[in-house]
């Protein structure tokens, strides 16, 4: 087995994930690109488990399992944030989100209430 093949696959997938995170506007697509990056890391870990003989056997695969669990937690919280963003702003475009909020945080939901009522 030539380890360079899965290593190169993982490197290309990681590059694609970085490209997707920077390029996409839709928050759900950004999360998909993050999944691509996490999977590239998983592939690196599993391949490293076959090439490096560690003291503890199968450490790389155990780490890959841990990363999968982390990705599941990340996607749960991430989608909760995205759905909350959609409820507040009626959009999931990440560059429509103002990073500096001028109004004081009165509860976080007040500006959207005003916006939606002004639109009616």
């Amino acid at each position: 087995m030539r380890p360079v093949i899965p290593y190169v696959t993982a490197a290309l997938l990681f590059g694609l994930g970085v490209y997707g995170v920077l390029r996409r506007r839709n928050a759900v697509l950004v999360l998909m690109s993050v999944e691509l990056m996490l999977n590239a890391v998983n592939l690196i870990l599993v391949t490293a488990d076959t090439t490096a003989r560690a003291v503890l056997p199968h450490s790389g695969q155990v780490f890959a399992l841990f990363v999968i669990v982390l990705a599941a937690a990340e996607i749960g919280v991430g989608l909760a944030i995205v759905l909350q963003l959609y409820r507040l702003r009626a959009t999931v475009a990440v560059d429509d989100v103002p990073l500096t909020e001028p109004s004081p945080p009165v509860g976080g939901r007040e500006p959207a209430v005003l916006d939606s009522e002004a639109g009616r």
Binding site: Y7, Q61, G107
Partner: protein, 197 residues
């Protein structure tokens, strides 16, 4: 080139091709389905690399749970069915940084491993991995269970703005700012955390 190499090449090509489609397609739903192809090909890679348990966990959690959650999110955010033109921001920086990262890592790894061969270790079955997890990696395992619990609680608190909000009861419900249109989407969003786990 042995059979394993050919399989790894083919599955890697499928994974990278599907990955390219995930980050370039104009259809939101199709991006999720291409992600299924990409993750499935990676699960095949794991099988060839003798990581049986990781491969099946990948199929169960990624293809079974994560992609379904992503598709739910696509539906709940009222994504258009057809192609949408506003998915991308124009970006040479993205191509530059992404391509730089990918090609840089490729050059590094190719330089490190060249065309060397290794023999595959014994397969990572559930028995062997379970021994490792519950002997050497117990503490990280327990920490991860705490993390999963906190992520669950966090997702519920995020999705229910009426939890932990100062003010009279019922205020959070009455002041809900749903998306324009009927209240169905907001109701779906509210009932979603319960069905998530």
């Amino acid at each position: 080139m042995t059979g394993a190499d050919v399989l790894l090449l083919a599955l890697g090509a499928v994974a990278v091709g599907a990955g390219v489609l995930v980050v370039t397609t104009k259809h939101l739903v199709r991006a999720g389905l291409y992600l299924v192809v990409c993750l499935g090909a990676l699960a095949g890679d794991f099988l060839v690399l003798s990581a049986e348990l990781v491969a099946w966990v990948q199929v169960l959690i990624y293809v079974g749970a994560v992609v379904v959650l992503l598709l739910f999110a696509v539906m709940l955010t009222r994504a258009p069915i057809g192609a949408s033109d506003d998915l991308d921001r124009p970006g040479w920086p993205a191509a530059l940084i992404g391509g730089g990262a990918g090609l840089g890592l490729t050059v590094l790894l190719v330089d490190a491993y060249r065309w060397s061969t290794v023999t595959l270790p014994p397969a990572g079955t559930a028995e062997r991995l379970g021994e490792q997890i519950f002997q050497s990696w117990v503490l990280p395992f327990e920490v991860l269970s705490v993390l999963l619990l906190s992520a669950l609680v966090g997702a519920i608190v995020l999705s229910r703005p009426d939890i932990g909000r100062a003010g009279p009861p019922g205020d959070g419900r009455a002041g809900r700012a749903g998306p324009p249109g009927d209240g169905r989407a907001a109701d779906l969003v509210d009932s979603e955390p319960g069905g998530r786990r």
